[in-house]
Symmetry: D2
Subunit: 141 residues, 4 copies
């Protein structure tokens, strides 16, 4: 993928903490919102009931680095880049910017899962879905 997907998001009051900044855990909620908007931009949804089997994408690892705090009412640009698509998983990075300032950078590895007997089970990414994903240097996973 050459162009990152950009999601604009204003920091809401309830997302701040008593120090006056966007609470660090809320960056993960914003990353997820950005991912879900990216799925929609592909004509898909993070919960895909039409594929065989129906799949969703639980996270197996997430991380975030924080450079500068974001504050109430800040209008953030979140840029998502898919770094890797494997046979059953995917890793993406989201960079948080306010104007030209790079505030934070997060990363998530998500796994394509069917739900079998109420438990997640990793499955191959269904083909009808894979064809819509960006091509990256895939080497397993």
């Amino acid at each position: 993928m050459t162009e990152p997907f950009v999601y604009k998001r204003r920091v809401q009051f309830a997302e701040t903490d008593m120090v006056g900044v966007l609470h660090f855990a809320n960056y993960y909620r914003l990353m997820e919102e950005c991912e879900h908007a990216w799925w929609r931009s592909l004509g898909l949804n993070v919960v895909m009931e039409d594929t065989d089997p129906p799949v969703s994408w639980p996270r197996v690892a997430t991380a975030c680095e924080y450079f500068e705090p974001a504050r109430f009412d800040d209008e953030l640009d979140l840029s998502l880049i898919v770094e890797h698509v494997g046979s059953r998983s995917m890793t993406y990075e989201v960079v948080f910017r306010r104007g030209d300032d790079r505030l934070a950078a997060g990363r998530a590895t998500i796994v394509c899962c069917a739900t079998i007997d109420g438990r997640f089970r990793a499955v191959e990414i269904p083909n009808e879905l894979r064809v819509k994903l960006p091509t990256t240097r895939s080497t397993g996973g």
Copy 2:
């Protein structure tokens, strides 16, 4: 019910906002935690899969009045009193105190529902559950 059920809860950092106080919407989360602890104190659970039919308790109305702000690390006492048990619903009040200070008072009306075709449907409170509930002046509802 003569004695209120008391639930102790410390205000967490992530629950504060940039004004330095417990965010107003989080009182509702605390009320719900208190309710769920109250169900457990009766040997029950808000999601009851053993009754016939299995039931849960969606809210139809909630409200809260705020008298004094709560702050990070405050140790709050939440006192729940069931005000009314109807045939299909129940109303309770939760008072928030810090020591002797009355900080807030909330109220919720919750309805006994089965889930039918993915939709909530109000049902009579199952008997095995009703016998554990406090007696109030019930007049319908």
Copy 3:
């Protein structure tokens, strides 16, 4: 005010709960977002540091009724109507709709406060702010 202020908001995944619906406490966060967008539509901000004195608007009472659940990815319309502007406070209603379906209706009473020695203190609504507010039948408060 004749026309309600409308705020569009998609239900996010993290705002749902295990029953599969928008968690009841999150309606209050959405109401607040709608209010803050309304302040911005007036060229104002809920935290007003330019007035004399600087003021913010803590809530003294909030309430919500729930008619139909909202679900992940639903695109909601929130309509805010100011019901009452008093000398120091204001009450508004927010109706939540999905298309033509009326899902919920909330209400908040907020008080114009200066922060004095770290404590909220109700003050008269500063004039430069009052002139931008809608006119309602004001009778004190």
Copy 4:
């Protein structure tokens, strides 16, 4: 530090999502609660106003791996181990367990900061605070 600090925490209803599990971003809120309980166990607080200068501990990096989902009402044990204490920062790990099952493992690097002109600025960990911290192989940072 030989013994980890253990914090017990029940998964609350509002912390679940529509898939029926503890939402991944909430692990970070639980990690933070555990850290704050650990500060208290040392007779300290994450917001320390008595030191010279007053300090707090913003995060510069957080991460979490997820092995098994946690669910509503699960009673979790969070074990915190300080991995590294530097001159201005600290890194700890928190392991999430339900009974013997290891559900997740998170990590945070937090930096000792004074607030100067409304901005965080990293400072040496004040001595009255450092003497209470566990000794680790400190090598800068």
